[in-house]
Symmetry: D3
Subunit: 69 residues, 6 copies
């Protein structure tokens, strides 16, 4: 499957924190830096996510803001 979301950054799962409905996934980007994602427990199971797994952080461009110092 190829998805329209323009931002698809490769990385590796470094932490998984379980809630009751949602799960917080920390992804270390291949280029350096980290991204935090919150997805459902069902999605974590569907993808078989585990610490160390190679993944992409995917973000729709209308969800990306810009900030300046």
């Amino acid at each position: 499957m190829k998805v329209s979301a323009r931002n698809q950054l490769p990385g590796k799962v470094t932490k998984i924190e379980q809630g009751m409905i949602l799960v917080e996934i920390t992804i270390e980007l291949d280029g350096g830096g980290e991204l935090v994602s919150v997805i459902t427990k069902g999605a974590v199971e569907n993808l078989g996510l585990a610490v160390g797994k190679k993944v992409y952080a995917v973000v729709k461009s209308t969800e990306v803001m810009v900030a300046t110092d």
Copy 2:
């Protein structure tokens, strides 16, 4: 101002494409890789965005999905 959005990746504006209401900003991340952001023309003016400017790409963690190959 300090904002709750967990993801704030440093980079540099490399392209600005103007629409009538919205503007597409391409950001080259310091760590490598690119992010595309779509924000309003008003926001671009408020921040004084221009090609070459140092910025942060900011994303709320509930907006980050995870994908696998």
Copy 3:
């Protein structure tokens, strides 16, 4: 690629309306009913979208609201 977004409804593109930055895609769902999506022109080109093409409408579950009469 397999993406975490829980909602992936199969359908067919029935209309494409071009803006300068964004494009409005109308999708007739296989199960009946229509969905409207707004994505970037770049995404439309990446996916080679055209009227008649089989696609999935993909939505992160935190973006789905519920309403009652």
Copy 4:
């Protein structure tokens, strides 16, 4: 109340899973297929949601992505 969100698909609640702050609602669409929604516990109470209740799944068009096989 009439809301601007372009996507309002009729269906029926088939499952409710409670978290501490958020609740996962599964909706069987009238046209076939399922949608998963994550909303606050407060919203579930405001709407009096329960399994079997007729509802609409509501999604803003800028939140709908498109994917291809």
Copy 5:
């Protein structure tokens, strides 16, 4: 229709700026302050929006960030 989005602030449309696909609506809140909304042209027509019209600005709680000075 009653929608799950927890934030529904009453106000009045004070400005409408047309793009090709999207429209920027400025809403003066009854309590003071302004909100800017970007919705599709189709939604503006469905709701019959015009300057001066009484409306609600509606936001899902997972889309609200918090910032400090």
Copy 6:
């Protein structure tokens, strides 16, 4: 830091409800009215949020819908 999100309403935290991953923050707006925000526990700690604290509710304009009676 100055962020592109067009909507930044000043207020005061009046309630904090803890989940395992996410936290629900109620903000009383200076202009009157309330907003509910759901952010991660990590964000609450980063900002040192507590009841009584002066904050801004921040919303990207593409996340604001419009409704009519």
